[in-house]
């Protein structure tokens, strides 16, 4: 049973290359999770190989944009659009970009001001 949280913090600029390497090594993308922390966002990218989870974390300062990983993992478009709509993080070059129309909410980007 896995009880630890394999976390590795990387720079926002390293993200696309990391995703590409992981893809070549046969990792499967599990999920992307955004968390609001003071003055920044915490993006956790989880990958899986042989049923073991590996998390890569990007701390993205407020107002900065980040490049999409959809060129390595097409399936990431679901999460990236979601994060774009709910957190207001600008993710560029998404393969299937809904331009903020993925989730229509009562208030735009409800998570942005949660802290």
């Amino acid at each position: 049973m896995f009880t630890d949280f394999n976390l590795k913090v990387i720079e926002p600029t390293e993200l696309v290359d990391t995703a590409r390497t992981l893809k070549a090594e046969g990792y499967r993308m599990v999920q992307i999770c955004a968390t609001r922390i003071p003055d920044a966002y915490e993006l956790t990218y989880s990958f899986d190989k042989d049923l073991e989870l590996h998390h890569y974390r990007v701390i993205l300062p407020e107002g900065k944009e980040i490049q999409s990983i959809t060129d390595s993992y097409f399936a990431a478009f679901v999460y990236e659009n979601e994060i774009k709509d709910l957190f207001g993080i600008n993710i560029t070059h998404i393969a299937l970009d809904f331009q903020g129309g993925f989730f229509v909410t009562n208030e735009p980007t409800p998570w942005k001001d949660s802290k």
Binding site: M1, F2, T3, F5, R28, M29, V30, Q31, C33, T35, T44, S46, L51, L53, H55, Y73, F74, A75, F77, V78, Y79, L86, L96, F98, G101, F102, F103, V104, T105, P110, W111, S114
Partner: protein, 359 residues
């Protein structure tokens, strides 16, 4: 090049009780591209962490989805138990897996019925749903609810199941298996089922793996990915082996589910036979701190529960990644190049659960 037409599918569509909207770009009768748009049942329940304590959040997590309610609740409890360093009693684990596998039987029967309905096999639909009621009755007798159970708690389960009840479950499941044999035969052999499913919505093993598909959807394409094979909880003791089909079409996905029902039924019998005596819950104290991601194999596939606590009774973040969420790209790829008339069957074949997806 033929003229392109865009046909909207959903949100209110007879084949699917749930609202999903697809823009189907057609050339004649062929679907060239499908663009999903969701958010019709987005509730934003992940944000409730700010308003509800981590113990109250239990009742929220099981209402993420009414079909796999037990699994959602279990996954969340498991994540919190890891953060709080709680060892769950063995009997509680056995009971949890028993209810979880019962959920799988009920969910797969429900899906098989809906599939039959999607290609117009009304009587098969009715028979699947009639059989499913047997499981719901067992749920009501053991937990008190038909679809939402409220039986889990952090550190164990609320209700114990008496030996007489276990015996009854065992007998009911054995009886159900006999009836299910006939239904399974129809799904596996019947010409009308095969006509509508064989070769429809084909996705190769490589594509399924690249699209990160999970659950029976991936296993139907030959990807042997199943969280239960990590042997977490008591699955290691049950000798679990994932069921894999190589076809990659709707028929293969149906076949995986047909066989998984048998597998779950066998597992339930095994659990009942091996059920240990003892406590069903431990007292839990403290406030969760740190972060963890728990994974549970739901009827629809792997789902993840990420929790981040900061030492207060309100969590900092709770995130749920549900199986349909990650199967949507798979669906988009399966729909490209199919006939318009096959769209409902393909959409159903990934077993979409939209309320999970949008939370």
């Amino acid at each position: 090049m033929a003229k392109q037409t865009i046909i909207p599918f959903g949100p209110q569509h007879p084949v699917l009780p749930e609202p999903i909207h697809l823009d189907l770009v057609l050339e004649d009768e062929k679907v060239v591209q499908a663009i999903p748009s969701i958010g019709f049942i987005h509730r934003g329940l992940e944000k409730l962490v700010e308003k509800k304590e981590y113990t109250e959040l239990m009742y929220v997590t099981e209402r993420i989805c009414g079909i796999c309610a037990f699994g959602h609740n279990w996954g969340y409890c498991h994540a919190i138990e890891i953060l709080l360093n709680v060892e769950v009693p063995e009997r509680a684990e056995y009971l949890r897996v028993m209810w979880h596998e019962m959920s799988r039987v009920h969910s797969h029967l429900l899906w098989l019925g809906l599939l039959a309905d999607a290609f117009g096999f009304e009587s098969l639909f009715m028979h699947c749903w009639r059989l499913r009621e047997g499981i719901l009755d067992l749920f009501e007798k053991t937990t008190g609810g038909r679809v939402i159970f409220s039986v889990n708690k952090i550190g164990g389960v609320h209700r114990d199941v008496s030996p007489e009840m276990l015996l009854e479950i065992s007998t009911v499941i054995a009886g159900m298996k006999k009836e299910y044999d006939e239904l399974a035969k129809v799904f596996i052999e019947d010409v009308s089922v095969k006509n509508r499913t064989v070769g429809v919505g084909k996705v190769s093993k490589e594509d399924a793996a690249a699209l990160c598909a999970v659950g029976p959807t991936a296993r139907g394409s030959g990807v042997p990915f199943d969280i239960r094979s990590t042997g977490h909880s008591i699955y290691g003791k049950l000798g679990f082996e994932p069921i894999v089909e190589e076809g990659g079409d709707c028929y293969a996905r149906a076949l995986v589910r047909v066989k998984e029902v048998y597998q779950s039924m066998e597992m339930i019998q095994k659990i009942i036979a091996e059920m240990p005596e003892g406590e069903i819950s431990v007292n839990v104290k403290g406030k969760p701190e740190g972060e963890f991601m728990a994974r549970v194999e739901q009827p629809r596939g792997e789902s993840c529960y990420y929790v981040k606590g900061n030492g207060t009774k309100n969590l900092e973040r709770m995130r749920v990644r549900t199986p349909t969420n990650i199967n949507v790209p798979f669906l988009v790829s399966a729909l490209a190049g199919c006939e318009l008339a096959d769209v409902p069957v393909i959409v159903l074949s990934i077993d979409p659960c939209i309320s999970c997806t949008e939370r």
